[in-house]
Structure formats: structure tokens, C-alpha cells
């Protein structure tokens, strides 16, 4: 995933409610809007709106199960673990560059 493709993801995650929804889908697996709205500080309508924003960014997808829509994370697109490590790895590279400047200088 390139940086430019990642921009909508950062934008979609740059909201407390959406990040909370992603966290719950990460931890608990696929959930209905009813379940996602339980304990939320926003209305069911707002949760639905946020889910569609996540869907637009390719982070979440809905599937109909009986009378309800069940939402889950699009893990291939998200790749949270992998990118997290990539970023930490990049930070180490930058730190090693500064260490080199210090000891070789």
C-alpha cells in the first residue's frame, strides 16, 4: 500500500468514534449495528454513518445476516499489524542514523 492510497485510511481513522468502532471490530470480530451502538456515546444513526465512512475507505464491509447487517473489518486493506511494524521499523532506521552521526562524528 502506498502512502497516497493510505491517506483515506488515516482520514477514516482520525476520528475517535470510528477508531473505537475499528477497535471493537478488531477485538470482538463481526458485529451488528445494534451491538456496536450498545454503550456508544452517539446515536445508532451516527454509528451507521461512521460505518459507511469506514466502508468508503475500504476498512469495513457489511453482510446481511437474517434481518440485520453484520459489519466486519476488511483486514487485507487495514493491515494494521504489518504497517505498525513498518512504521516502528522506519523509526529505528532514523534513530540508527542519528546514533551513527553521534558515534562516528
Amino acid at each position: 500500500m502506498s502512502r497516497s492510497n493510505a491517506a483515506p485510511i488515516f482520514s477514516a481513522l482520525g476520528d475517535e468514534t470510528r477508531l473505537h468502532i475499528v477497535s471493537r471490530l478488531c477485538r470482538e470480530g463481526p458485529l451488528s449495528i445494534t451491538r456496536l451502538s450498545e454503550g456508544a456515546t452517539v446515536t445508532r444513526q451516527a454509528v451507521t454513518k461512521h460505518l459507511h465512512a469506514l466502508e468508503d475507505a475500504g476498512l469495513a464491509q457489511a453482510e446481511r445476516q437474517g434481518r440485520e447487517q453484520v459489519w466486519s473489518l476488511e483486514t487485507k486493506r487495514l493491515e494494521v499489524a504489518r504497517r505498525y511494524l513498518d512504521d516502528i521499523s522506519a523509526q529505528w532506521d532514523a534513530a540508527i542514523g542519528r546514533l551513527r552521526a553521534l558515534v562516528e562524528g
Partner: protein
């Protein structure tokens, strides 16, 4: 830079190998002396690196000074091994990370092969798989800012 990342498919650890043109004693001091460590790691530490002690670190990158983390010194073997565990890059200053699993960071030092005074440094950070998924999601968002800050810091450093 002569660094390489081993086992890119692993999500649990990061491994870096680097050869530095400096004696082991010099590299050791830059890593095991808390104030020297702070210079290149961009973190202010409130004590000395002694095995078994826990220090508080505060990020010194402009704009990220609110980020603090605990650092527990695990091993201090002069000129050979320095290791600590910590909560990597906590993003939310209001949240208590102390109950979360830590990652382990190891610095292994050895003489570089075929040179008079070079040092072979291996850095390993492991234990990422034990971190909660929501923590990774949060760090995912946070680290883009962190990384941008690092790029700015380097740009500033090289143009001075």
C-alpha cells in the same frame, strides 16, 4: 545506510543490523549512558541505566513532548548487551498503559569483522504480537505523525 530488516513477514519482531565506524567502547557509551542515549533516541530520561530500574522517558521531538513512556532496564553487560522493556510509542497521554504487555529492546555489540575499530550492532525489538489489537490501531494512527516528526528531525539535523 547499511541496515537491513530480517524476516519481513514476522509481525512479532523487528531486527536491525548495522556496522558503525567507531570502537565498541564509544558505541556502548552512546547506548548505555542515559543522557547520550537520549540525544539520538530523542528522549529525555529521568535517571541512569542500571539493571532492574524503571525510568520515565519523555519524547524531545518538537510537537511530541507530551508523549511519555516507562522504560525498565533488563540487562547491562558492558560493551556486549544492553536491554530494556517498554511500552512502545504510547499515543494517548491520558491512558494508563502500565497493565499492557511491553516489548523488549536488545542492543547486541560485537567487533566488526575485518576492521580495526568498527562495531557490529544488532538491535532487536520483540513482543509486538502480545500487544492488544486496538492498541495497534491507535499506534497505527499515531505513528504516522511520529514518523513525520522523525523526518523533520532528520531534515533539520542534516541541514544544520
Amino acid at each position: 545506510m547499511t541496515t537491513k530488516t530480517a524476516a519481513p513477514s514476522s509481525t512479532d519482531r523487528i531486527e536491525k543490523h548495522v556496522t558503525l565506524s567507531a570502537p565498541r567502547s564509544r558505541v556502548w557509551r552512546a547506548i548505555a549512558d542515559a543522557s547520550e542515549f537520549g540525544k539520538w533516541f530523542q528522549m529525555k530520561l529521568n535517571g541512569k541505566f542500571t539493571a532492574g530500574t524503571t525510568l520515565m522517558g519523555q519524547v524531545t521531538v518538537p510537537g511530541y513532548e507530551h508523549i511519555r513512556t516507562e522504560m525498565k532496564v533488563e540487562k547491562v553487560e558492558p560493551e556486549t548487551l544492553f536491554a530494556y522493556s517498554w511500552h512502545p510509542y504510547p499515543g494517548d497521554p491520558k491512558k494508563d498503559y502500565s497493565s499492557e504487555p511491553m516489548t523488549l529492546v536488545e542492543f547486541h555489540l560485537a567487533d566488526a569483522k575485518g576492521t580495526d575499530s568498527g562495531t557490529e550492532l544488532t538491535i532487536i525489538e520483540s513482543g509486538f504480537d502480545a500487544l492488544p489489537a486496538d492498541r495497534r490501531a491507535e499506534a497505527f494512527r499515531m505513528n504516522d505523525g511520529g514518523w513525520t516528526g522523525q523526518i523533520k528531525a532528520i531534515a533539520k539535523y542534516v541541514t544544520q
